[in-house]
């Protein structure tokens, strides 16, 4: 007997129970603690915070665990939570020039004020699987040279700017700064909205686009002017007080790309900039973001456009992985009403096609 599909509710509940079971896995093993995730899978946590646009290590770790390690699912969880939080103000712009630096490198100068500081990097490690990490061997403490926090090293872009060799930091027209989480997006987008979109954009997507510019699809002749990772103070202006209230520190990665520029009718030949800033430690993302930012400025700088990474609407409307995953995965939802309509059309068109063939056949036979 035919029974229409019922019991969706029960099926969903059962599926969720099974998910919870699988997520926990073998009960003989201890459950992984959020503190362990925060401490030992820190870069995964950083990525969830960056693309989830919410700086909270604990929540990001929770999301990562709830998502069974699925990055995009974790990012989605954090975003969906973030959107419900009430907004009580906008912080002052963070001052990365006063960063408490843990890593700082420049590819453009051999030595520079403040020096090169490698920090905790994978660079120059040999990518050999290390069996000793399978266990829990004692690891000696890292050493940190004392950096004078009172006079932090100047940014490379500032050094170049003294000679006028690099364009000025962009300024925002008027005092309104876009907020892509609160205003509808519209193209062309200002650089403020663009940088916000890139900052939460998918690392893999931006990486691929950045790579494409290096391979010739919209070359921008970049140099890694400076990459710095460390903590910066977040401060909030409170109307009743005449000083900014410090809210705490966040770890960020900043990348300033310096790009060759031949000059235009309006601007003299000088270096231009691409900018990348992300929560946590992620050089790959910050560098990719800086390359994409610069590519998207091609039109503004009067350069030839046409490469994928230079197409603002293409890049920005497809870089959000929460949107992308939702729409790709929505194909799992039932579409049988539409499919029925198409089925009917194809059947009808096939009938017409067959009838025509038969007529042609008959005519041929008659002719013979």
């Amino acid at each position: 007997m035919y029974v229409a599909v019922k019991g969706g509710e029960k099926a969903i509940a059962n599926a969720h129970r099974l998910l919870a079971d699988r997520r926990r896995g073998n009960r003989d093993l201890p459950a992984i603690g959020l503190d362990q995730i925060v401490e030992q899978l820190a870069l995964g946590v950083d990525r969830v915070m960056a693309e989830g646009s919410l700086y909270d290590r604990e929540l990001a770790a929770l999301a990562l665990r709830q998502a069974r390690g699925d990055m995009i699912e974790a990012i989605f969880l954090l975003r969906a939570y973030r959107t419900t939080l009430s907004r009580f103000g906008y912080s002052r712009p963070i001052e990365t020039g006063e960063m408490r630096i843990e890593r700082r490198i420049s590819a453009t100068f051999k030595d520079l004020p403040g020096g090169q500081l490698l920090g905790p990097t994978f660079d120059y490690t040999h990518r050999l699987l290390d069996p000793s990490l399978a266990g829990d061997e004692a690891i000696p403490e890292g050493e940190r040279i004392s950096v004078d926090d009172a006079s932090p090293p100047p940014r490379v872009s500032a050094l170049l700017a003294e000679e006028g060799l690099v364009e000025e930091d962009g300024s925002v027209e008027g005092d309104h700064i876009a907020d892509i989480t609160r205003e509808p997006q519209d193209y062309p987008m200002g650089r403020d909205g663009r940088l916000q979109s890139l900052a939460r954009g998918d690392e893999g997507f931006l990486l691929a686009l950045a790579y494409s510019t290096q391979r010739g699809f919209g070359r921008s002749h970049p140099f890694a002017g400076e990459i710095r990772i460390g903590e910066v103070e977040v401060e909030l202006d409170v109307p009743e007080l005449d000083f900014a209230v410090p809210l705490g520190r966040v770890r960020v990665t900043e990348c300033q790309m310096i790009n060759q520029f031949k000059g235009s009718a309006k601007a003299p030949p000088q270096f231009t900039r691409g900018y990348g800033l992300v929560f946590g430690q992620s050089e790959r993302k910050a560098m990719a973001m800086a390359l994409c930012d610069r590519s998207l400025r091609a039109g503004e700088l009067g350069e030839e456009t046409g490469a994928p990474a230079q197409d603002e609407e293409f890049v920005l409307s497809h870089c959000d992985n929460v949107q992308a995953t939702g729409f790709v995965e929505h194909l799992k939802l039932p579409h049988y009403v539409d499919f029925q309509a198409e089925l009917d059309l194809v059947r009808r068109m096939r009938a017409v096609h067959e009838a025509e063939n038969e007529t042609a056949e008959d005519q041929r036979e008659a002719a013979e």
Binding site: Y81, T83, P188, G326, D338
Partner: protein, 292 residues
């Protein structure tokens, strides 16, 4: 973080609801025009009805009675999930009875039971731009709407006729609203297009991922695009519903076994149930009754 105590009535904060209601009012004032709005992340994925959910969340009140359907049915998993979400965050009454609902959120169908004055139907929209697959650029399509440049739309219909002898668009069939904006009715089958014309109900369309809201106010002129000599027609099924015997309804094809036996039944499950409880019996239902 278990949910309830954290969230406002209908999930969204009041400021966000006001922003969405402003967009809805603008949409009603300019029928068929896609109003950009600052879509929020919702606790379900983009593409799974976040636009419709935001519209419903912005307009729902404690006295509303909500019906949620997907593919015409109240019991498909996504309909169940969205209904459960609203029950959780609003605690409003829910129903499967089209006539009893004040708000109907839908994906891919318009109920068979005619909508009435005072009802609101909320459509979930994946791609709001009817010109999208002819012109991928948002900047360009917005200009085309502004300047009422819709020639390209007819080029597509022309190609269909030249190639297939008929307009081969079966769902998401474009309409013109109040003689001005060309609009995508969401991926409803074109069978449902005539129901939009002069409907006494308010029709709201929400596209979350694409951040657009649009509307058809009650009693608006909604015309499906066509040619004078190739007028718009809807699908006709050559048999009635096998369960309730209903004619002039949209049917789902159900595969009964691996020998190609098929049965056609109402896609609108509430409509089908209603008819059967009134004593209407279709062919298959009669066979099964006799067997018992």
């Amino acid at each position: 973080m278990t949910g309830e105590p954290f969230y406002n009535f209908a999930y969204l904060d009041e400021q966000t609801k006001r922003m969405i209601r402003r967009a809805i009012l603008k949409a009603i004032a300019i029928p068929g025009y896609q109003v950009p709005f600052a879509s929020r992340e919702m606790p379900m994925p983009y593409g799974w009805g976040t636009g419709g959910v935001q519209v419903t969340a912005a307009i729902i009140g404690r006295d509303d009675v909500l019906k949620v359907i997907d593919q015409g049915a109240d019991d498909t998993t996504n309909a169940v999930s969205i209904r459960a979400f609203f029950q959780k965050v609003t605690n409003v009454a829910v129903t499967t009875d089209t006539g009893a609902a004040t708000i109907i959120q839908t994906r891919h169908r318009i109920p068979e039971h005619p909508l009435i004055d005072g009802q609101i139907i909320v459509y979930q929209v994946p791609i709001p731009e009817p010109l999208r697959f002819l012109e991928p650029r948002e900047t360009e399509t917005r200009t085309m709407h502004a300047l009422e440049e819709y020639g390209l739309m007819h080029v597509k219909l022309y190609e269909d006729i030249a190639r297939h002898g008929e307009i081969a668009t079966t769902y998401a069939y474009p309409v013109k609203v109040e003689g001005r904006y060309v609009m995508d009715p969401s991926p409803t089958p074109k069978f449902d297009n005539p129901k939009m014309h002069m409907s006494p109900a308010l029709q709201l369309f929400g596209a979350g991922r694409e951040r657009r809201i649009y509307a058809i106010p009650p009693y608006s002129d909604v015309v499906s695009l066509d040619f004078d000599d190739h007028p718009f027609t809807v699908q006709r099924f050559d048999k009635p519903c096998a369960l309730c015997g209903g004619d002039d309804v949209y049917l789902d094809e159900v595969i009964m076994d691996d020998r190609g036996t098929r049965m056609f039944v109402c896609s609108d499950t509430a409509h089908c149930d209603g008819r059967r409880s009134e004593g209407h019996v279709g062919k298959q239902a009669a066979v099964e009754e006799a067997r018992r």
